[in-house]
Symmetry: D3
């Protein structure tokens, strides 16, 4: 069985029940997420072997994070502990035209204080087929960036397929590095790019349009610039409101442009982690399908995540295959 390794911060998400604002709530619901863990947990649901490299707090919160990872089926052998609090974020779930709001508490947290020396990448990547990283990690702290770069170098040597979802977040990158430069550098170690014209523009400092032609041109330019990149997969989202979305997949396979059906979610349960469910679908597809089916699988995975509360997509293979095969009317299964 192929092994996937993800590297990233595990965060505690705290959100008031239903659509309450924090001001009007006495309770917060706990979810453990983080973009890479979301990918990892989806892969575990798809019955792939997956392990996450991370750092948590050395207290009962860190213990809870590790237990949550085990619950999700994600390997924790490479999770270490430090004497800093676990990163966390507060989420107020939006509705209709009111957007969800997030407030982070992560920049001095456990993961940001990772010691690159503490991670034995050679051992961790032993037997690994895929390594997944995102643009969040190198934006957190210099040591997170260094640790990631170490891992990517070793992955390159081991000929591991590196997948990346390198989106730039402006509320990170407080430690001095230039986000665009770092993301460009690290993209150079990667093989599968998950993103669209916007993400490519951020990295290449280009301004391709956000439409099919723009995506094709941007993808070609990306592959010219970073020849390690073989394929580009992207989801295209139409938002009517925080509660109503449409989604389809597009990809440049290196030789052709492919797309999927558009899937509609008229009552979003949770928007967080939908992009990660797409990324996980791509990785699963790389291992099992051709590009067209990979894209369809990822799109269905992404769409179904909108119906699941929390950061992690607790959707199983069979549910995705049903949607891929056209079963979308939600009839009760007994």
């Amino acid at each position: 069985m192929s092994k996937v390794v993800t590297f990233g911060e595990v965060m505690m998400r705290l959100s008031p029940p239903e659509n309450r604002r924090v001001r009007q709530s006495h309770q917060l619901e706990i979810f453990f997420g983080g973009t890479e863990l979301n990918v990892a947990s989806s892969l575990a649901n798809f019955e792939m072997q997956v392990e996450q490299v991370s750092v948590v707090s050395n207290d009962f919160i860190g213990e809870s994070a590790i237990a949550a990872m085990r619950h999700l089926g994600v390997g924790v052998a490479a999770v270490t502990k430090v004497d800093y609090p676990l990163g966390l974020y507060f989420l107020e779930n939006g509705a209709g035209m009111r957007p969800s709001q997030i407030s982070y508490n992560r920049l001095n947290a456990a993961f940001a204080n990772i010691d690159p020396e503490s991670i034995n990448w050679v051992e961790i990547l032993d037997g690994c087929t895929y390594l997944h990283w995102t643009g969040i990690t190198p934006g957190i702290s210099e040591s997170a960036y260094k640790t990631l770069k170490d891992g990517l170098e070793i992955a390159q040597n081991k000929e591991i397929t590196v997948t990346t979802d390198p989106s730039y977040r402006s509320n990170l990158w407080k430690y001095g590095k230039n986000g665009q430069e770092v993301l460009a550098e690290l993209t150079g170690f990667s093989n599968i790019f998950i993103g669209g014209a916007n993400e490519i523009n951020e990295i290449l400092k280009t301004d391709f349009e956000n439409n099919p032609d723009g995506f094709i041109e941007a993808s070609k330019e990306l592959i010219v610039t970073f020849p390690s990149i073989k394929k580009v997969f992207n989801k295209v989202r139409t938002s009517f409101s925080a509660s109503w979305q449409k989604i389809y997949g597009q990809a440049w396979t290196g030789t052709e442009y492919i797309t999927t059906d558009e899937l509609e979610i008229s009552n979003v349960i949770d928007r967080i982690g939908t992009g990660d469910a797409f990324a996980a679908g791509i990785i699963y597809g790389l291992e099992h399908y051709d590009s067209q089916k990979t894209l369809e699988f990822a799109n269905a995975s992404c769409a179904l995540k909108h119906t699941i509360l929390g950061d992690n997509s607790l959707v199983c293979l069979e549910e995705i295959l049903d949607v891929m095969q056209g079963s979308r009317n939600g009839r009760i299964k007994r």
Copy 2:
């Protein structure tokens, strides 16, 4: 006042709050349902006298089931207890394109172990005007089948109107009998058939199409085969997703085909028991209205059930009448 008797299993439904999966929930919400109890409780809401014949566990769970029936206004004088656990089912509420899922624990439960000798049908049916049964009951166990057949024979002798919702469930019928044959046999004791072309095809082993013409032809054939059947009522559902449905009623009155307006529910609260709310509407209508108004009442009852959490339809007469009269915009009533 007319008295209705229903016969069937009372089950505990356990479902995680909101749209959570069981895996991500520490709590389950309790509802007591079962298709016949759902019909009975609607009739009690409609202020008809109704009593359910059933068997529950001889423990504090069975006591809770009986208290729940009383709460709903359903008579419990004919509920007995045995030393088997109460049947139950787990429900994960779907959303959007993700279907609801049900897992049953009923086949060795209290109701399946009913002793046909323990039910005094003659006494129970004394003064009864309607007896309602569904295709679930005879599929549970041989003794459930036998008890039902005993009741139907006595009802026939007493000239009680027998209504039936005889849908075939493939996850039942484990005890050796052939579902199609049994349902055909028991339909022969019935007067009002609640179902459409699909249900008729199951019983007659025919293949009428699932459209108005098919429904008319199937109904005619059903009545030819089982002359005790006088009328056929059916609801026609269009599912856009687990959360978005449309519903209208169709009926063959023996002489003509009638239909209702289509009602739309764009944010389903609970799909379970909507068919039972339709059946209850039919029984109420048989007692109070002509066929056209009966069908409209049942359709409104069914549509409103989609807005109620749980298995039972806690909708009162006035609310149904309002919807029948065109009040569907949900304005606040003060």
Copy 3:
């Protein structure tokens, strides 16, 4: 900073969680509302100084009401206590075609027993720019009516801008006065009328049609009858169901008819207090904007309230401005 004074009853709202009926709930969620407090709390969110004149029960429930007002940022210096229970109401939240239902317990409560002598209007209105009243207050009891009239007279003398949302509620007015006459009398003390053709018809005993032309004609007639009225603002609601609404604003500025975009809410979280959010938007706009922008602000405020649980609109200025500027797709804000 301009100071706004509101006068009205503070009520405890008790509603079962989610869409449950009271019959099927063991818990009720507490919100403190009342139409004038809803206006006041919105204004506090908009960072205006606002104080509510009210009377609460002299027990731990009254204490809770006062603490809730403070929490909302509404001044409580003019809240007194009497030995009657706090008014309250039960709400069953509707869904789809099932309307929300309200049952009141207020007519012998603390506010109804207000002593007009106990309110020192001269002091309270000192430094006040706006006084807001609604048609609820004079319908509760004779002493509430008298207290309000006292306040309006003093406001008139002080040249305070009086805003009113004078809708007639048929379940009030039990104490002997004629609602239409009283509302007409008190409208004569007011400067800004928040309502449409229906509300004007109630007061003038006219029958203008509920369309743009009717609104314009009604507004003109209102201003002729009550020359103190300078402008008329109204929201126009289209209800598809309890869960799906559209809303736009219309106004007669004294010289022209203006309107706004229509905003759509396809999954209403809470319908209560949406009119109050509109009224608060008008008051905020009077202080900061011209009539067109005032109407747009009020309409966005009203639309956003549909996404907030409870009676009070916990929407901040920035969120309204975003919607006014066209940002309505609910993208996550990090």
Copy 4:
């Protein structure tokens, strides 16, 4: 089977979860109680037939109250509806040295507005063996007093055993009657007195001491004054704190003084309704036991109620018998 009739107000109790104060809670838990319903529901648990005469609000809250009564197994045939809100009370659960606090909203509620003419006592008391009343009812309103007196007169004629728990509550009796006089008058219609020296002193305007001798003397004096009274039963409570109580029973049988073991509850779950559980135990005992066993049964019933959340004692016969027989160590029953 003997039938018991109780007469009294059904109230909604609203209390914050656990030991929270209302100020710090967004939720209230619903229980339906009232001293007479508490007695009735205990008797239903003891498998006696019991019916309560009452009046509820004509809305969804009144419907909920009726459903709750049915759930408890109490007959509702003699419950009527009026257009006043249901009485309710708020409870803040105490702990340790902090007392529980109650705030009532009942004096203008449905039951207070009972119409004596609307109650057909002759029919209701047909076949009745016991009629139970408490000192709360005649303190609520003049019409409640009159209705009760009507019932007692008819009960006297029918030679029904009348039991009473006539404690005086100073926060009632606002309608003009003198509580002491009324209680004395109505005690004259009663046969079993449930109370001690304090309660007797209230009625006789005496000052017997609150100790065994005082109880015996008071009981003798009571029986001399009201020869209809045959026996006096009382529970003696020692409160260490809101959470820690001891309880034993004492009685004057007309000829001798008897007592029970003292039972200790070191972690009270709910104090409300414990006296009612004692009263119910007495009524059950009158029907089934001699005075000594009656007193022991009532004391065990009372002690066990301290372990049950809410107003109603959901304790079954077997649990009381176990405690009577000395099983008090709380071993798990599988």
Copy 5:
């Protein structure tokens, strides 16, 4: 690191929140337990490697059980699935003199239908140091008994230390075997006996008294009868009420009788699984301590479990060591 293997049923426990009865609750809290899993999860908390052999349902409930085991840190490689529902039990938490009550639904569940051929004991026990079994397992079904016996034979061959907590439960043993005979047979494969005079009497059909001398004599007799048994460890419980308990340990080491301090728990949070926490303490002690310290560790583990909600003891090593070293006053740790 030593590996422990446990074998037994994983059950879903469903209990109403706080001290509610099921009748008065709309919600049940989910815990996954079962005596052997409770032992296993404690050992995982103590940082031992532990794996449970079990069978779960082939549905989303079985998946939830497996995820819960992973969360607890218990290995699931030897958990298989069958098409029967997961065993479950309902618990009503007692308080004071009211006992907790349990109702089981397990005898036709997944584990009872285990196929002995499906368990590869040779592979599972590879590298295993301890195998733990209890008297529950062979009482469930014949196939459970056979599977256990297979495992014990192989463990004997591999010289694995077999620990047993062989208590007899009268509500099991419905499949035809004699409980006493089976327990005696299987005790013959075991090395460490966790139980006291009562448990020994059940197996040997003796009647040693339940006091220190009786324990010593019984232990000697047990070892004479089953020479494989080397030591006997027992906890001695004094129950004042369901909420107040005292506990101490006693052991016969083969050569001497040893005991521990008595620990008092005046407000029990959860009684379930306290014996399992004792057994886990013994196994941990066997690996790390002498008999005296083993007994003290197990006693502290048992006492601390009374403060943890649910079946599993979420107590870590450090907390037990603190209690062993005399820190029992519960001062806050910051």
Copy 6:
């Protein structure tokens, strides 16, 4: 009315419901506390005017903190915002011999980043009678220390009474200053010392014993060293377990040693903030009572806080006075 100013961090406390561990909870309950806010909120309950100087995060969490302060009745005019997350802590509530555990996330939070220049002490302390500080604040960060020292100097000039609860916390003081030296320096600005021999030993580097004589000697030495100190008040706690405590007050008035009754809490609801309730009682007493009554008031305030969930003591004057006057048996107040 005397005005009190407190200065300190406002923290969000997150604790799982009941006695759950975080690992086994999906929800956390929110309380806003911090030792100084706890004092301030008690004083507001005692109807004193109180304002807290603090810094919160510039996001919806900071807004929630401010709203919570207003809810408590604490003035927020001197609360500012910075772009750092709000400090928070996780609490696992202990029970019995299992201690509560706290994990902090505060050292890089908003308050730690206070800018001393941003606080206008002269204005804030205008009209102030008491300034309260604790040993937490100067341990958080250098800027917190500096800001406090600025305030104390100005208070000294204004002859404001400075009260202090200067306990040393070893998990603070990470920024380079020596805790003992700083606390000694700041004690020199203070007039009322709330602490016992342990706290004095920490400051004076002495080793007085923790008994009445030791307290007297330590107090005398403290006053000799810091002549600004006039009186020393202390609470003496005996912990049987996390759930069972006894408490009494001792004081050195400068001339005599006084004590109070010992109050017992056999079922602690919440231990957090009990010392703060004592401190608040002292401040209230200083304003209203002599030293003996001050100590009794503070001791009763402290004891009652053990019965209140959360950090803040929601106890009102009347409840404390009742306990002072000997009413400790927790009888229901209607």
